[in-house]
């Protein structure tokens, strides 16, 4: 699955009310703009980690702002 599709699947899995916003996501969209609360955001990360079978370090996490950053992180972790 393409990285952005995987992210959208993760958002849908943790908060179905955000489905309507998925179409508006662009690489430069900040992740915070999607309106997930902090618990749901980390749940989304957990979903991605599980699918990719990796652990993102806390250090990497705090330096990610946009969906583009997250896509790059996913692609890097897929090798």
């Amino acid at each position: 699955m393409e990285a952005m599709e995987l992210i959208k699947a993760a958002i849908t899995a943790v908060d179905t009310s955000k489905v309507s916003k998925l179409a508006t996501i662009k690489p430069e969209t900040e992740i915070r703009d999607i309106g997930l609360d902090s618990v749901a955001t980390m749940e989304m990360v957990g979903f991605l980690e599980e699918k990719l079978d990796v652990q993102f370090s806390d250090e990497v996490m705090v330096r990610i702002n946009t969906f583009g950053d997250l896509v790059a992180l996913i692609e890097k972790n897929r090798g």
Binding site: D33, G35, V39, E43, V45, G46, E49, V62, I64
Partner: protein, 601 residues
């Protein structure tokens, strides 16, 4: 029940640590992010803490110096915390940056806490150090930053370790860093031992070699730190620590750990019960054995009886007893716990007549066809402690009347660090602590009904309404200074509501913009936005906003002036008593009948 005899309690946390050094076959197990366990017997824990104490002293820290801790891994946190206590230092637990971005906001609040605490050193790990190095130059008392991975390999102080007494300050518990002047609660060894001994004996009835405590709670927060690091130590009980982020990312790790390590006691805020129940799948339910679980305490945010019931029903196939959820009530100023419900007993849910309660603040059981409010009982205070209800003039009220909850006893902390004004506001000369919570007592039990202060509690974290209101006030079309934020009871837990007055012809989609702005700036989800014309928000005669009145009007469907009755949250919340009783008390499972005991019925 285990004895609450104070004469058996250790004098300090350090004394408890040393008393347990004879235990060489079990102690604390720390899981890492991959769930890999590292075990320290109580003997090893004591040795590790003494080594860490000498390492901290080797950094030139002396008794009474504040040492900030920003550590995400439980093993690093617990050993550094205990090491600091052994060295007579004052640890200042701080929250790590937890989510995407927002590094500037994180750095600002970290600087606020470090400055107020006058911290000399930050202990953190490699992963977080680059973030924390940025704050070091901004705090004049800081000498630098120490990496926990290298701490024990550096210079260590030799010579005797200090004698620690009951009146010594143990640590500073900061309740929020989001204001410019955060308050650090001064927790002494005396109050810590008084509270933890009461929790371990009366509260949880802990038995060494039988009980296993399991916690994913953040260790920079009182419930995780005091409830699960210090309390098990009082009785020499085994404990297992799961990193907080592991639970939030993968909620199943909580019950997985309860199953795997045969956990008997745990704790969580209301939202965690909902999250754990929502995420457990068929595969997990078929595998887990939770029959050994005695109690899972619920505190730190309003308790929703339906969520407790859903939790019990979800895990019934794993053998979870219906009496497992145990409401508790506490706050940092009282060290941690002020009351616990009776362990391993049915939930106490009171159904009150809604009209009488709203209009007269009096508790009258709801007749079957009357509108009812449901409140969950949080039990009685520990022996030697007292809870009371106070009116706004400072008079104590009797039972069955709503007022501010006050508390006193040996668990009271020494107030706020270097802040006598704030201390005097809530620590009254009469010995009572004003909690800022509203509630009533019935048959000696305490029921929490709301907040007198306007603090908003979402997902177990406290938020000051002003922070949220200011963010909204900046938006185009919003009348500055005319925004009110509060919480309403939601399906699972409290939800955020924003009410704002708008300028004439507000921009299109303003409600949506407000939701996005709050999510963007504060990572909070807004459940509802109400936009009003100018002059419709309730205000005092001097023009001050009235948050409670706004909330009451919202819940009553009366917001926006007379005659405009909208079916808001109140429409969902206010239910005729017999329906509420049926949904809470009378579900057709044998589990439910055991979970809920209805008082006065």
């Amino acid at each position: 029940m285990a004895t609450a005899d104070q004469t058996l309690a250790p004098a300090t946390v350090v004394a408890a640590l040393r008393r347990n050094r004879v235990i060489e076959d079990y102690g604390y197990i720390f899981l890492d992010n991959a769930n890999k366990p590292t075990e320290f017997t109580y003997a090893a824990l004591c040795r590790a803490a003494e080594t860490r104490a000498r390492a901290l002293m080797g950094h030139g820290l002396v008794r009474g110096d504040r040492v900030a801790m920003v550590l995400g891994q439980p093993q690093d946190f617990v050993i550094t915390f205990l090491g600091a206590l052994v060295a007579g230092l004052v640890p200042v637990p701080m929250f790590p940056p937890l989510s995407f971005g927002k590094l500037d906001a994180y750095a600002d609040s970290a600087v606020n806490i470090l400055t107020v605490a006058g911290a000399k050193l930050i202990v953190t790990d490699k992963a977080l150090s680059s973030v924390l190095w940025q704050v070091v130059p901004r705090v004049s008392t800081l000498r630098g930053l120490a990496l926990v991975e290298k701490l024990d390999d550096g210079k260590r102080a030799d010579g005797p370790l200090p004698e620690i007494g009951p009146d010594d300050l143990a640590f500073l518990q900061f309740t929020s860093g989001s204001t410019a002047a955060p308050k650090g609660v001064m927790v002494t060894h005396k109050s810590l031992v008084a509270n933890c001994w009461a929790i371990a004996t009366e509260g949880m009835d802990l038995t060494p070699r039988k009980d296993v405590a399991i916690s994913w709670l953040p260790l920079y927060h009182d419930m995780g730190l005091i409830g699960f690091v210090v309390t098990p130590m009082m009785r020499g009980v085994a404990a297992v620590f799961v990193p907080t982020l592991s639970f939030v990312k993968r909620p199943n790790v909580w019950m997985q750990a309860m199953h795997e390590y045969r956990g008997t006691v745990s704790f969580g805020p209301n939202f965690a019960f909902a999250l754990a129940a929502r995420r457990a799948g068929e595969k997990e339910l078929a595998t887990w054995d939770l029959s050994h679980v005695r109690l899972i305490g619920c505190g730190a945010e309003p308790i929703n009886a339906s969520v407790m019931l859903a939790f019990v029903e979800k895990f019934a196939p794993c053998g979870l007893k219906p009496t497992v959820p145990m409401p508790a009530y506490g706050m940092a100023e009282a060290t941690l716990a002020m009351s616990f419900a009776v362990p391993e007993a049915p939930l106490d849910v009171m159904l009150l007549d809604a009209e009488t309660f709203r209009a007269e603040k009096r508790v009258v059981p709801a007749a079957d066809d009357a509108l009812a409010l449901a409140f969950v009982g949080c039990g009685k205070p520990f022996s030697g402690h007292a809870l009371g209800i106070m009116d706004t003039e400072g008079n104590l009220l009797g039972e069955d009347t709503e007022g501010e909850i006050v508390f006193r006893g040996p668990s009271l902390t020494d107030g706020y660090w270097q802040n006598p004004e704030a201390t005097a506001e809530v620590f009254l000369p009469s010995g009572w602590l004003r909690t800022g919570d509203l509630g009533f007592q019935h048959a000696g039990n305490i029921y929490i009904t709301g907040r007198c202060k306007d603090l908003i509690i979402l997902n177990g974290r406290n938020h000051h309404p002003t922070t949220i209101e200011w963010a909204v006030a900046e938006l185009d079309g919003v009348r500055k200074g005319n925004v009110v934020a509060f919480s309403r009871p939601g399906h699972d837990s409290e939800e955020l509501v924003i009410v704002a007055e708008t300028r004439p012809d507000p921009p299109e989609g303003l409600a949506e913009t407000i939701k996005t702005e709050v999510a963007d700036q504060l990572s909070l989800k807004v459940a509802d936005v109400v936009l009003l014309a100018a002059g419709q928000l309730p205000k005092t005669s001097s023009g001050k906003l009235q948050r409670r009145k706004t909330r009451d009007q919202y819940l009553g469907g009366e917001l926006g002036g007379e005659g405009v009755r909208t079916l808001g949250a109140a429409g969902e919340k206010l239910t005729v008593a017999r329906h509420l009783a049926r949904s809470l008390l009378g579900r057709a499972t044998h589990a439910a009948s055991k979970v809920f005991a209805r008082p006065d019925s």
